[in-house]
Subunit: 732 residues, 2 copies
Amino acid sequence: TLDKTEQTNNSNAHPKLILTAQGVKDIRAQLGTIPIFDKTLATVKEEVDAEIASGIHMPIPKDYSGGYSHDRHKRNFVVLQKAGVLYQILDDEKYAKYVKDMLMQYEAMYKTLPVHPKTRSYARGKLFWQCLNDSNWLAYVSQAYDCIYNYLSEDERQQLETNLFRPFADYISVENPQFYNRVHNHSTWGNAAVGMIGLVMDDDELVQRALYGIKDANLDANAKDNDGGFINKDGKAGFLANLEEPFSPDGYYTEGPYYQRYAMYPFLIFGEALQNVKPELEIFKYKDSVLLKSVNALLQLSDAKGNFFPLNDGQKGMSTKTNALVSAVDITYHFGNQDAGLLSVAKAQDKVMLDDTGLSVALGLKENKEEPFSKTSINLSDGSDGDEGGVAILRAKNEDLTLVFKYAAQGLSHGHYDKLSFSLYDKTDEVLQDYGLARYVNIEQKGGGNYLKENKTWAKQTIAHNTLTINETSHFNGKYDVGSQHHSVLHYFSSEDETIQVVSAKEDNAYPGSELLRTMALIYDEDLGKPFILDIMKVNSITKNQYDLPFYYFGQVLSTNFEYETPKTLNVLGSKNGFQHVYLEAKSKKLSNNGQFSWMHQNKFYSLTTITNPNDELLFTRIGANDPDFNLRRDPAIQLRRKNTDNTVFVSVIESHGNYSPVTELATNSRSEIKELKVLLDTEDYTAITIATVNDKTKIFITANTNASKKVKHAVEINGTSYNWTGTHYYK
Amino acid sequence: TLDKTEQTNNSNAHPKLILTAQGVKDIRAQLGTIPIFDKTLATVKEEVDAEIASGIHMPIPKDYSGGYSHDRHKRNFVVLQKAGVLYQILDDEKYAKYVKDMLMQYEAMYKTLPVHPKTRSYARGKLFWQCLNDSNWLAYVSQAYDCIYNYLSEDERQQLETNLFRPFADYISVENPQFYNRVHNHSTWGNAAVGMIGLVMDDDELVQRALYGIKDANLDANAKDNDGGFINKDGKAGFLANLEEPFSPDGYYTEGPYYQRYAMYPFLIFGEALQNVKPELEIFKYKDSVLLKSVNALLQLSDAKGNFFPLNDGQKGMSTKTNALVSAVDITYHFGNQDAGLLSVAKAQDKVMLDDTGLSVALGLKENKEEPFSKTSINLSDGSDGDEGGVAILRAKNEDLTLVFKYAAQGLSHGHYDKLSFSLYDKTDEVLQDYGLARYVNIEQKGGGNYLKENKTWAKQTIAHNTLTINETSHFNGKYDVGSQHHSVLHYFSSEDETIQVVSAKEDNAYPGSELLRTMALIYDEDLGKPFILDIMKVNSITKNQYDLPFYYFGQVLSTNFEYETPKTLNVLGSKNGFQHVYLEAKSKKLSNNGQFSWMHQNKFYSLTTITNPNDELLFTRIGANDPDFNLRRDPAIQLRRKNTDNTVFVSVIESHGNYSPVTELATNSRSEIKELKVLLDTEDYTAITIATVNDKTKIFITANTNASKKVKHAVEINGTSYNWTGTHYYK
Ligand SMILES: [Ca+2]
Ligand SMILES: [Ca+2]
Ligand SMILES: [Ca+2]
Ligand SMILES: [Mg+2]
Ligand SMILES: [Mg+2]
Ligand SMILES: [Mg+2]
Ligand SMILES: [Mg+2]
């Protein structure tokens, strides 16, 4: 028989899935000279050795996530994959034996294992409460199996494949088509798991099922999953459909970065497996290299600390350091064009994949090829054809200020009713937050770690976002079926001029009869000092409405230029659509032409200046009403309310203008630079705003509301002065 | 004439006050070879050069702190001192000329300067709104004058002394005895300022006035200052009285670390000046070296990040990195016994004094002599004789858990009504907070940066602290005159055994008719895992009362072992004594024998387990009611309420038991280790508690309530078992 490392040209050689026989050869040759790889290997070895020493634990499945049986089986598949890798790289049979022994115990248990006893999922697994986690298991364990394939006898392989792997793959696919046969991140995991075990077993039926879905599945087009998402409206299924549909041509994943991060592992690991075993598919070139583009998009969708923007159902704190991004970065570096910027991300991750791709990265770092990863202003289209809105990111001064503007499609079942909403970051903090989700992932005390009811009643609602709510109802009346049919539309995006970068988008469907056009500019003008945001929300409506425009800040009220009254007891702001979760802490008494509000957070000073009418109200609100389990954070907002109005425009400036040291006790630039904002002109075609500063500088910004051509010439006369320019907007 | 650096043996040589002629010689010899000194010097030079380039700014005084004239004159005295030093060290006349020019402008202005126009202070200054800031000015400027003394002509010196320094010193002393002639940190600044200019001018009248106060001042013994503190009850005054009175023999400063930090500079800089010019006084040996001891005490009064515990009116975030601690550490190192631990504090400060003491530190660091500064469990007595209560700090596992227990005297006018209160820290965060003060120092938008009315109505009140409030009134009925007559009394302190460290103290005066004995143990027992706190608050009262015992945590409610109800609208908890500032967010429905509450903050898991009676209530409260200017933080508490009870005991365990990673989404040890707490025995003489863990381990703790001798033998029989031990407490 051939030594397993000499079987590189044999397509039935193992390992072949992620590690390859040639890769193993190369890695062994470099071991001890590739620091980041060596360090990762040492950590993994220590971890696996400790697990081997503690013995095999094989509890009967019974818990939700956070419970012992769940966590133990999750740990098992992670350790199995690592032990398989260690067997290959270190050529030490103790690892192969450990993998074999545990797989045999799984085989013994799985044969007679009933469906998991917990009933909450629309697709219950066997090892776990949902097929999703069973799929995670199989995607990892197929790698372990591949690594010890040649260590096992033919009979042992047959035993495992017949009693464990094949039934396992069938259970999560043909026995659960409502899970497997759809376009959804759950299905991507299912497809990858089935495909990977199929590639290892050389079972083409499974591989075809992975790529193209179950051919004859009959699913109710109107059925919904636990999150309220349609299970399969249009019959699309399989890995290629999952690659086709949720990614835009720019690599934006319609559920947002938190779910994209989660999905990256099966997309890229199965991509790597297909590239290794079926290179003729050219999976990384599929859809104009969308898999590789998606990794760049995802890295761009993070703040200066590398934390992903919590769009839709995103949990805050998830970052580019997550393991799924280690594989994404290494695979993109290896199978893409060795972008030196990725090496600095890998360096920050401080670990690599223990495979051919990690070796490439380790060699790149060893040769000091890394460059800083370039975080830029970027417009990411949404929709499989890139024509369903998008997410724009404007950045100034090396991430000193970052605006995230969302004008995307619904984002499947994890989408929020947040058309034209935005969030704002400075170098170290959220300035105006996106609330994120109402869930404590894997913290069992909080609803088993699952979505809490407040995710629907609060986090998804429009009022939970920095965008316009009309008549205390959410966009599309909070109806997923309706929201799923629409998306906002880009008006223009302009990031060429560092002095003023602008994004403008329209939303005509969220509120039938009302048209919203929001234009947001990130202005970094040496005349004015620090970068700031100009926000213009223009509304046309056929009815008179109540408008609410909140800004979710953090920290302590510092000062206002208006008087306000505080109630004796705190009452809720409304009765439904999220308003029932908000307390009214104070209300402005009388506003002049500009309302100015300054606050302080983490020793920094911020201000919002907004144009106000005499009948407008500025509300100080705080989240937390009707929250019987303390599931919500008690975060505040300042909220502009305008009643009984049809056509109108909301104009605001948001500044991060100073800081405070509690050690020196010195306050620097603690006051706003803005003296006054004025609407100079507001017509169907143009909106013109003047920004006057306390240093008596005045700037004018004019945006073209109807013609977004970059080439058209505009001529506008305002109060006897002519303004002439070419393109979407004017600033001087 | 002699070269100025050769006049070392001439007591009239200059500089002599802080820098000495010999020191200048030594520094010049070492320049370029002493990294931390060289770096500090370069920073200071850059700063002063920029100021010189920007010209001299001499606004007419008009603002409160935070306003331009205030900030500019504050900046001026800082820069003058530094420019003087640069002249000496760099021997560059441009610095001397700059100092001279600015001093001459001050001389021109001061001659005719009226009292400062702002009227809020009980002792208005001339350059600033209060004499305190004028004193700061003189303490710094006397150093600048000393540095350029020999650069000036006799006539110039006479002009400055006659028109500026002498009248300035007289104004802040004899013309404002209510400021100068008392025991208070304000007066310490005044004394130091007058003494330092006296030493430079060789004016013994001023030096005597500094050391011993104004001899014939006639002050109303019942007059109070802006903070409500008595101005001078007992006629004590002068620097030595200020050194005698507020420092305990352990070096604890009765106002607490925040004010001690502020006071350190005048204490130590004038100490250094006296040591240099009048070494025969042996000021650093005064009162058993209390000045040097106070620096160690202050360093111990900080959390693992070096932030001072915000006892009394302390602003959070002030830390051992503040400039006043740079001088304190350098002076203590130089004039003390060159403690290598201080070098590591200096290294973290990353700068040194530009004088003889900074040179010593720089040489110590250059020679790699530094060792880690030892943060220990320590009991610091309060009161000039050390017999007026104190502050105990218990630390476990290299600051993994730090308990701060306050059983001190009133703490002068900045004291809070917080007898037997505590705060708890882990390595990176506050676990159970001391609220601190209601003030935003130097942030003019918030009441000019001064104390806010909520400091009195909230921050000082008992309910704002983690201690017992009886019948919704504060200790001593919130009366300063009464509180000032009393202090708590140490029962025992035991930190020898790392497994269990205990502090116990009594308070019999805060509530006439009620006796409080609080015993707090920091238990770090390998059998039980992580360190935790056992808290036993025993009350005897002649009346039936309502008791409220809050625990001010941070973050998100995770779980409870009891049901609770949340109201539709939020109402205040009470009408006065701080209760009017608290909202009731939820109330327990029915409690069993233990109430358990878990929360999550900064990705860490915490639990409170407390013994409850069926009629007890656990209240979820939040600060922020009746706060019309948003001056208070919206921080939560869990509050145990027991009604209609005379003698009772409150027993709780507080744990920091786990953590969460938002990147791996894994929760580790998210649940409390405590299964049940029980009172086994509670008599006049003994309280015995059992702690049972979820791992079925049970420990017993018995504290002697009446006999605190470390030598006495105890024998107690409980439920047929005999417990025998020697000393204050038993634990097994
Ligand atoms: Ca499409
Ligand atoms: Ca005393
Ligand atoms: Ca005494
Ligand atoms: Mg959202
Ligand atoms: Mg959802
Ligand atoms: Mg306090
Ligand atoms: Mg006070």
